[in-house]
Amino acid sequence: MSGIIGGAGSKSGIIGETELDYEKGTWTPVFKGNATGSVIAHTISHATYVKIGKFVTCQFFVVRADASGGSDNVTWTGVPFASEGTGYHASVGTAWCGATEEALVVQDNYGNNIYNFVEAGGAYITFTQHANTNNIGATFTVIIE
């Protein structure tokens, strides 16, 4: 592959005659208690994305201001690109919210840019489960429009 992968505005060169779109940057995750709940105060330690064609890998690590529990599902919005389609979009990556040792997946709620953690058994992670820590982090990939 020829070309250079660099900073803002760069492209990754040409493979054959197909130009591969590449972009990286930061984004702003917004945490809520459920999709329509109040914003949960937090500090963003790290929130970045890398876009290669229609695949966008996002990661974040945030620290909640208050580690107390709550029955609402851990929910975040602000993923920088709209995902393709209108159904659930499970995106398995490394997802961690200090709540469980079970495998977690990251799930977009019907392509509405509303994301949750889901346990292997299908249950949504709540802030109650998460009350033992105020750290939340994940890395996940979405296919975009």
Partner: protein, 77 residues
């Protein structure tokens, strides 16, 4: 807004806005704003103008209806 506005993209059935900005260090920062999300007072004027243009009352109502419908399913699962 400290960042410089670089691109506004209108995406999806409900005209959500994908905003790309350039930070002082030259790198990108992106935000996603859905059509029922309030815009801050410090939002770029171009973003406010685009929202006024594409976020019609009909679009907002349709999005709210769809979201509520989805949330019923979401909360029942």
């Amino acid at each position: 807004m400290a960042n410089r506005l670089d691109k506004i993209e209108v995406v999806g059935e409900f005209n959500h806005l994908q905003i790309r900005e350039i930070k002082e260090d030259g790198t990108y920062h992106r935000r996603f704003i859905n059509c029922n999300e309030p815009l801050g007072d410090d939002e770029h004027q171009e973003v406010k103008d685009k929202a006024d243009e594409v976020w019609t009352d009909e679009i907002k109502a349709s999005h709210t209806e769809k979201l509520n419908e989805q949330l019923k399913r979401f909360n029942s699962e």
